[in-house]
């Protein structure tokens, strides 16, 4: 009689414990475990994506630095505002005489401020003209020489007249 009672208690204990554990496992532990796995996967993906973005940033940064170094002068030139006195002062030594006149200023599509400038220069040899063009290309402004270009012989000198557009970044 005693043994049967004891066995009954044991079975009840085991089944009760198993039932409680099962409830705990399936109601709480498994959902939380699934959530953990999902969040861990998300974090791993985000981490991978962040590493990819970081690599992309490093590449962009290197390229940006490289471009800045390579085109520093060009970028500076487009930022500079054209000054006619400075222009004449800088380029007068290459020719016998140099005159410049700003005709008008306007904007191009809101990107650049453009000054139309007329140039009249006198020199002894066409070589002076070639040197003038080369120096203008290396100067601190972005100047596009426009046709017509008119060369005239005036006594022993050659007079050249042309127009140019001076570009600078619009403020």
């Amino acid at each position: 009689m005693k043994t049967r009672r004891s066995n009954f208690d044991l079975l009840v204990s085991i089944f009760t414990a198993l039932a409680l554990l099962s409830l705990f496992i399936f109601m709480l532990l498994v959902p939380e475990g699934k959530a953990y796995r999902i969040v861990a996967n998300d974090v791993e993906k985000k981490d991978f994506e962040l590493s990819r973005l970081q690599m992309q940033y490093d590449q962009y940064f290197d390229r940006h630095s490289h471009l800045q170094d390579e085109y520093r002068d060009a970028m500076q030139a487009i930022e500079n505002d054209f000054n006619i006195e400075d222009f004449i002062e800088k380029h007068s030594p290459d020719v016998n005489s140099l005159e410049a006149q700003v005709l008008k200023s306007h904007r191009s599509k809101g990107v650049y401020s453009i000054k139309d400038v007329n140039i009249t220069a006198r020199f002894n040899s066409p070589n002076n003209f070639y040197i003038l063009i080369e120096k203008m290309n290396q100067s601190e402004w972005v100047m596009a020489i426009k046709r017509p270009i008119i060369f005239e012989r005036i006594e022993d000198e050659i007079q050249v007249t042309f127009s140019m557009k001076v570009y600078s970044a619009a403020l």
């Binding site: 044991l10 705990f24 861990a40 974090v43 390579e70 972005v142 270009i149 008119i150």
Partner: protein, 171 residues
């Protein structure tokens, strides 16, 4: 009344087997609770990490976009500036190539170069000199060249040459 020398076993609420079973399931329950606690803690930590990564992700993406825009801007400006410099050099080379063609027998008094035509005023010692040494090269560079000659008192020949480039008709 006979006495027994065997000490009576104390009566307990749970038998030793049941207690052992309960201890066994309690230990398992504790371990599962610990695992559940681990999931809860990790989920909360991972959630914070995920949010941090999300923020870093957005910041990095914004920085990449800013850098990319800046790179595009530098490339556009550099390309624009380089085009102008190249066009100036081409123009200079065109003028140099043309002026190098002019022989000593021909003295130019005026040269007007536009994008469509070339107007030359000058003096030549004779018509053949002009035709052989300048008109032929001009014919290869332009589509049509017309020349007007005027005899001067000193037997030299004044000429006005007009060379034009036809616009290409697109099909």
């Amino acid at each position: 009344m006979p006495y027994s020398f065997i000490a009576p076993r104390p009566k307990t609420l749970l038998s030793s087997e049941v207690r052992l079973t309960l201890i066994f399931f309690s230990v398992i329950g504790m371990m599962l609770l610990l695992l559940y606690g681990f999931f809860l803690y990790q989920n909360s930590e991972l959630q914070i990490e995920k949010e941090t990564l999300q923020l870093q992700h957005e910041e990095m993406r914004e920085q990449n976009e800013i850098l990319q825009d800046d790179i595009d801007f530098i490339e556009d400006q550099a390309s624009f500036t380089e085009n102008i410099v190249t066009e100036n050099i081409i123009l200079k080379e065109q003028i140099k190539n043309f002026l190098d063609l002019v022989p000593d027998e021909i003295i130019l008094s005026k040269v007007s170069l536009t994008s469509k035509d070339l107007l030359l005023n000058g003096v030549s010692i004779d018509q053949n000199s002009f035709q052989d040494k300048l008109e032929v090269p001009l014919s290869s560079m332009f589509h049509k060249t017309t020349v007007k000659y005027t005899q001067l008192l000193d037997e030299r020949l004044e000429f006005i040459s007009h060379s034009i480039i036809h616009k290409e008709i697109k099909p």
